[in-house]
Structures are given as structure tokens and as C-alpha cells.
Symmetry: C2
Subunit: 264 residues, 2 copies
DNA sequence: GGATGTGAATCTATTCACAGCC
DNA sequence: GGCTGTGAATAGATTCACATCC
């Protein structure tokens, strides 16, 4: 789900597969929970269950980091927490800026999980002058004109974009020009960035659409919902309107004369 | 990034690869934009650029849906919009419930992108009695006790969880028991669900951690940031503190005696 | 005995490159 | 000539199964 231009595995990085990297935070969270309960060691089986993956995958993932377990015993929780934190770069402090302090931006700023792991909200930035100075999550909002200065002064290399779609690319360009090289984009837009800049995107509407796809499948298969599939009340209900293709229902755009042809 | 139990491709579904499904919403968005500008046809090259993928991938993706293009010409925009909408199940209306109307939940409820494509917020639900009745995004919040009734009455099969982590599994269980079979989870927790239920998760902190991993790599590689990599100001700055591993900085949990060993 | 670590096998996804059609 | 559609080739991720070590 990472977007942006390809992001080369950096010349000869000790190539940890992207899929593995994406799971490390999951392991870390599970390990942190164990650590807080003072659990000293954990097996791949247990940890995998806590992280919601299977144990073979977890062991393979860890094998890319090195041999941090003990055969016949398992993994030392504290040790692994540290190793994964270090691998992810969380042993250092990452100042971030968030641009676009509307509903979503404000919610994100208030979201504790942000600050909890090495990330520090260095500044909140908005283009609306009436927002400027207002504290959100205890941090006063600053004006967009100061973006470059703020990034420079705080040594920010990670930016979060929570602006409306229309403003996102422009904000992105300014962030990149000012030295930001990793961007988390909440605006429903494809950002184009130069090589060397990473973009990840989070898109609520896309996630829902993917769910709808599978949901439709479940309903469409009627009785035959794979195996052990719930013929859930909701699925059965959903099956009904499946024959009423009101072409692009609910979209605002032009949807008048849409062809109603069968698929190949 | 889909989680939850495996979700079998449903017996003999006209197997569209998961990776393709995940890109369909992207194509749809790009196409909708073209449609609004009344662009009649588009080539794979152009559309791919707009969606941020390469054209070979796009053509392959479309080939799973059928042959909807015209050689030498391209794709008919309106036609494709309809075909993809239908494939994703967006030609029907999906009532959703959102549970947990805190900062994030309220922001999501207000987020236009939700309602814009076949999704309709049927109800907002919270466990805080003082929230009940308050309108959020024009919809009065309802009490958690009514969850089952609300789902039943509205024929809801998709639920959004935006509660604190501690409450998420419990809410999830109730949603599933009431007939919901697709869940979008914003709580930073692994949800366990029975077979046949799909869970997708969106985790802000995980996305940042993945960015931090790559960011660290860029900084660590010093001059050799792959090729064409910006030796950006921020990257150079970030390189400095890389030698100060203050073990799990900023974490709230126990982080006293963390081993400081080199990796294998 | 018990659990890790890892080659080999499998499955999935991406990319290539070109035949086929407009 | 231009662009789609798709087999074949390649790359990447997951799973299997077992040798290895505590």
C-alpha cells in the first residue's frame, strides 16, 4: 500500500522485505503489551497469535533481522522490543509536521498513538488564518506561510498531509522542497513526488470500497459462502438489492447514460 | 494490508487478485475525475499516470475484469466507471454503522469521502451516555445498547470501529454477532473474528513507523542515497542523532535496562 | 522435548514484450 | 501507427518441513 515513486531498496541495504517491514510495528505493539505485563519470553506461536499472523511468517520475518531467539525457549521480550525499535528507527526522535488542521487533522493531532512511539508533533500548520494561534491538542496552529521555516528549524523529515484533496499536491511540493522526504497522506489524491521521497497514503473511502467488494461477493455467492462462511443475516439481506444496478448510485458527478452491458 | 482471517476467494469466484481489487478504487477515482471533466476516452498510459501506477499493471488489472478497452484507442471513461463501480459493489447502497464517536470517529463521520461512493452512514454509536442525542455530522449519536437493533433495522453489513483499543474487540464481537461481516478498524488492536468476516485496519502509528524505517535508511546511507536520491537537508540533519540510541525513546512503558547489543 | 531458523517449494504479484486488433 | 490484452518471465511473499540447537 506504499505509494510514491518506487523507493529503491537503497543501493545495498540489508534488504528487509517490504512486507516484513510493514509487520514489524505489529510485532512491536504485541511485544510492548507483553512487556507491560512483565512477560519475560514469548514463543513465535504466542507472539504470532497476538500479532494476528502465523508463526512461520513471524519467524521468517525475524530471521531477516538476525537470530534473536533461543531454540527450545523463544524470544526475550525486552530484547526484541529494543531490536525492532532500533530497526524501525524508533530509538530516535522524529519530529513531524501536520498540515491541514480540519476535522481529521485535529483528530489525528489528538490521537495518542502518534506521539507514543518516537514521533513528536513539532507543528500544526493550516492555511486558514482564523485557525492560527488556536491550540489543538495543546499545540498552537501556525500559518502555512511559515512552513519552510518551521521545517528547517525543527529538522523535520516526516510530514503528514490532512488537507482537502485540492491542496494536497501543492502542500506536498512545498514540504518536499523544504526537505521533507517522507509523507503520510490522508488526502484522497495521488501525490507525485521526486525519487527518494516516500509517500504512504491512508484512504478511508478506499478501504470501505475494498470491503464492499468482498461483501458483495459473500452476498452474491448465496448459500455457497466458501466454507464455514456465515450465511449472516446481513449477507442475506444484502443479496436482495444486488439486481438493481442504479449505475454509480450516490455519486455526485454525471451518471446519466451509463451503458448497462454484461461483462465478458 | 487486509487482516482478519484469510478470507477465502469464495469457492470459485471469478478470482480477481486481491492486489487488483485494492487498486480498483484508485482507478475509479481517477476515472471519476476524468468523467467530471467530460473526457470521453483515456489510454492505459494516461490513466495509469493519474492513478499513480504503471500502465502494464493497469492493463493487467483491467484484463481480470474483462476486455473493456478498444485497441488503438483506449478506454471509454463512462463505461469503465460503471464497470468498476459494479465490480466493487458500489452500484448498491451500503449502510454502515460507526462505533466510537470520539475525536477520530467524529472526524470520520464528517469526512465527505465516506458518503460519496455508495456508502451511507446509517448510525453513529457511542458508549458515552453524554454523547447520546448529540448530532455529529447531522446524525444524532445513539447509545451502544441499541447496537443490535440498529444493525438489524438498517440491514447493516459493514461496521467501522473507532473506539479506544480496549473496547474494540468487544464492539467487534457484538457487531459480528449482530450480522456485520465486514469491519474497518481504526483502533490500534488486532481484532479476532470468525471465518467469513473481513477486517481491514487503518493504523496511523503503523504507517508512521514504516516511514521512519525508510527515513532512517536514507539517512544512514549518507551520501549514497540510492541514485537520484535527494541528499535532502532533512536527511542530512537526521543523520546526526543516529548514533544516540536512547532505547525506545518516548515510550511510556518500562524501558530501563534494555540490552544494547549489536545486530548479527 | 521443544522451539528457532531457514532452504526449498509454492503461491501471488509485477513486469516484459509482442501478437492482435482498431 | 497506436494501444490493448495477455502469455511468458521475473520478482516477491508465504508456507512447508525439517535440520539445528538449547
Amino acid at each position: 500500500m506504499a505509494t510514491g515513486r518506487t523507493h529503491r531498496p537503497a543501493t545495498r541495504s540489508r534488504g528487509i522485505p517490504e512486507a516484513t517491514v510493514a509487520r514489524l510495528p505489529l510485532y512491536l505493539r504485541a511485544l510492548t503489551a507483553l512487556s507491560e505485563r512483565s512477560v519475560p519470553t514469548v514463543s513465535s506461536e504466542e507472539l504470532a497469535a497476538a500479532a494476528g499472523v502465523n508463526s512461520a511468517k513471524l519467524r521468517k520475518d525475524f530471521s531477516y533481522l538476525g537470530s534473536y531467539g533461543t531454540r527450545g525457549v523463544g524470544y526475550d521480550v525486552e530484547y526484541l522490543v529494543y531490536q525492532i525499535s532500533r530497526e524501525l528507527g524508533l530509538t530516535q526522535d522524529w519530529p513531524i509536521v501536520m498540515v491541514g488542521i480540519g476535522n481529521l487533522g485535529a483528530a489525528l493531532a489528538n490521537y495518542g498513538g502518534f506521539a507514543s512511539r518516537g514521533f513528536r508533533v513539532a507543528a500544526l500548520i493550516d492555511a486558514d488564518p482564523s485557525m492560527v494561534g488556536k491550540p489543538v491538542a495543546g499545540i498552537p496552529v501556525q500559518y502555512i506561510d511559515d512552513l519552510e521555516r518551521i521545517i528547517e528549524e525543527n529538522g523535520v523529515s516526516i510530514g503528514v498531509i490532512a488537507t482537502p484533496a485540492g491542496a494536497a499536491q501543492q502542500v506536498c511540493d512545498r514540504l518536499v522542497a523544504a526537505g521533507v522526504s517522507s509523507i503520510l497522506n490522508f488526502a484522497p489524491t495521488v501525490l507525485s513526488v521526486p525519487d527518494g521521497v516516500d509517500v504512504r497514503k491512508v484512504d478511508l473511502s478506499i478501504e470501505l470500497q475494498i470491503l464492499a467488494f468482498h461483501e458483495q461477493r459473500k452476498a452474491g455467492e448465496d448459500g455457497a459462502v466458501g466454507e464455514a462462511g456465515l450465511p449472516s443475516a446481513a449477507a442475506v439481506r444484502a443479496a436482495a438489492p444486488a439486481t438493481a444496478p442504479a449505475a454509480t448510485a450516490g455519486r455526485k458527478g454525471p451518471d446519466g447514460d451509463v451503458p448497462a452491458v454484461m461483462p465478458a
